[in-house]
Symmetry: C2
Subunit: 537 residues, 2 copies
Amino acid sequence: MSTEGPEAVAAAVAPAATGAKSVEKKNNKKSKKNDQFLLKTPKGTKDWADKDMIFREAIFSSLTTLFKKHGGVTIDTPVFELREILTGKYGEDSKLIYNLEDQGGELTSLRYDLTVPFARFVASNNISNIKRYHIAKVYRRDQPAMTKGRMREFYQCDFDVAGVYDSMVPDAEILSVIVEGMTGLGIKDFKVKLNHRKILDGIFQACGVKEEDVRKISSAVDKLDKSPWEVVKKEICVEKGQSEEVADKIGEFVKINGTIREVVEILAKNELLASNESAQAGITDMKLLADYVDAFEVGPWIRFDLSLARGLDYYTGLIYECVTEASAPPKNAQELKEKKLKDAKKKKDANTEDDDASEYVGVGSIAAGGRYDGLVGMFSNGKSIPCIGISFGVERIFSIIKARAAKQLEAVSGSETDCYVMAFGGGEGWTGFLKERMEVTKQLWAAGINTEYLYKAKANPRKQFEAAEKNGSKVAVILGKEEFPTGQVRVKVLGQGNDSDEGELVKIEDVVKVVKEKLDSINTDGLDEVTRLIKGL
Amino acid sequence: MSTEGPEAVAAAVAPAATGAKSVEKKNNKKSKKNDQFLLKTPKGTKDWADKDMIFREAIFSSLTTLFKKHGGVTIDTPVFELREILTGKYGEDSKLIYNLEDQGGELTSLRYDLTVPFARFVASNNISNIKRYHIAKVYRRDQPAMTKGRMREFYQCDFDVAGVYDSMVPDAEILSVIVEGMTGLGIKDFKVKLNHRKILDGIFQACGVKEEDVRKISSAVDKLDKSPWEVVKKEICVEKGQSEEVADKIGEFVKINGTIREVVEILAKNELLASNESAQAGITDMKLLADYVDAFEVGPWIRFDLSLARGLDYYTGLIYECVTEASAPPKNAQELKEKKLKDAKKKKDANTEDDDASEYVGVGSIAAGGRYDGLVGMFSNGKSIPCIGISFGVERIFSIIKARAAKQLEAVSGSETDCYVMAFGGGEGWTGFLKERMEVTKQLWAAGINTEYLYKAKANPRKQFEAAEKNGSKVAVILGKEEFPTGQVRVKVLGQGNDSDEGELVKIEDVVKVVKEKLDSINTDGLDEVTRLIKGL
């Protein structure tokens, strides 16, 4: 991945570019105006089906297993919330919230993320501690002109820990969850960039930024993942009204990154920060974290990076973003300009028909989160429950895995059918054995074997083999015109190299046993094809 | 169930009545107005968490396994559709559709069911055949005054077969899916009532109903699951303008029910229907179906019932509803009146605080569906794809299982943690072994074992045991102050009868192996507690 450069990843994470057969592409390219309908999904949304769906489910399954391994329990909140619950939580992004029409009664809006509903849930149920995971869709009414690659409907996979605990203990576990999550999905070229809001705020204060300007300087620095320092510096000086001297001091800090211990050492020696309470509290936290990160052996993936700021206001402590190696920010203004041009072109190419740029997904983090100790308190008259969490961007992860496994993916079947029951015969008096196929199929179902047969009274062998192949069936049970009336069927392993194999003739009462044996002999390692691909094996 | 009567089921399916600790109850009863927020979920919605969530997930898992066994693949469509896609599909229920606010751009609405989005998906992707399952939320803006027990946000679990196949073959498989689905969930006291739209329409025609009145008479007859014949007859005569003679003829037919062969025999002999083309076509279908139902051995659960009509207009062939024994309709007007009074009281009781009746769930079918051969054609300029499907009402099924397993449920843990890592010590120089607990935990995670430990530097044994018990941990790994520095830990099986057991002293490098052995020895049959409860074992 690291040799391919940002464009490769941009292509990888733009779903439209990855699979000519994807449902989305069909959906958007073939959308047609018939008499009544423009037959498409709403802008910024898509159907998931076929292999994409199987892959996505496998990713969810991998993450769910991970979350449970860490003691996570899941909850399910409504897709819409009372509008006032969401109000005032997302800063200027609040304009992206989808409102439901006022049809009388309560005013409601679609959830923008899973974090605010989680905080509402914790507060309204008086929960004092929980580790919860939640895999669900969120909604952001991004305009194509503003879009930075977001779909309007997309999945988030969140794991959050709420409760009063010793400093940095859950924080370290969340970092372990990120690393285990990515490596478990076969993603190796990634870093977890982290920073601490108390240190960042302390730096701004120490550099001479007034208390009331700290948040807006932070949101300018947040743009360093997309823009070079010279552009951000201009914003700090011109738009945010700071002196060049202040900006230059900040500029020295945001250059700093390294292992937690390396950066802690630099910060601990820094004279500007020596008397800053906020920074010192953050440094104490980071020293503890360094130890815990060692215990979990996740240090090699972690980079303490003082340029990381994160947009949302509600973070109060550790913040982090997981990025792939190839998603490095542009190094200077020229590179940024070129990137923007390239992005604009890509956007244009993707939207020749319906001017919908929403399927373009730009380079970005593949997981992100932080500590937010104040959010629950906003819902519970000040009874604060400290929280920390991570959100996996599953659609971006999906695209990376899909790009990596593009070739193998072609060989994967979209269905999980294992066995196909067929009848061979013809000539005079040939009934097609439909009812008999049903009876055999019923036995296989009762034994828990995924089984299909052709829904035709009389079907020729070729059509039955084609259907079995299309469904990825591994074994066929064949009811022969002469053999079946003597109480026997053939069990044949399907697939390459087995075409000439006539199968094994077995008694009908043994069919379940023999099919199971043949299926077991195929899946020797217990891992199905999709799981192997997901894990990068 | 059959001895408890309708009230028992009504209670069972009203979530608020089943568990004092349910999140919903907390949510609604404790909802409080603080300075800014009414801290609750929107009307007709609820949070799912804790044991309820684990149970629901287990039900989904059981149904997903079933759908895959029958060759099903899953798709995911957006939660909202272009409004025009939904328009004109739901008759008078269209007023229950949730619209999104017009914030510029397309007009969209939340999906009302999964069937119309499926038909749109099939049409827009030019799919000629698919067996798809879809488990997702749907939205109906039912007013409390109108509510018949619906939540405004609830799950549907749908399995549909699209494609041109031989008559009644997929139809028979869908019936098998219903029976396998229910028995797989430990539900035994149920019947699948079925009817055929062509027979029903033929009966109305033969009884003298004019072509243009057939649909509205059908929708009157549909009320027979809630009202006795005398009430429906009055509607047919007074509101729908039919003569008493016509109504009486219909009345004779809708009384008829029995096995498929019994009813087919009665219909085949009926002189009124002899010359009715629609009825005869339906009878031919049902004769075929009787054979296929035998092949799948699901006959004992099936009842051909001519009073079943189903509300939706788009059904064109076989229709069916799965009902529990206890949900029999009232037998006469007096019983109906008493039932209504009882329902009204229940509704009132449930809403002393916030006037929200939406959590009251009345008696109804637990799965329903039918054949709809014309719906895809409405989206594809007439290129018709025949479809048939079943929708499992998972929230009602959930309530039945929960009522059945109420006692056992108390013993189930809300989490799936298997192992808890603890430290025992104290006195001078006692560090609490936090980092050491992390290191041991990391090994267990790496081996795929769901493991937790207390997020405290120093924790006393009692608190650690309490936390382990709360999470349902089955095994504890104990790092003793004296033992651990010699390279040893204790592995102890938790739970009743093991309190005095001091555990097994093992080398640290063997901890994973020993924990796995102990866990295996506990789960001897490979089924977890929740799966056993779901299956009714």
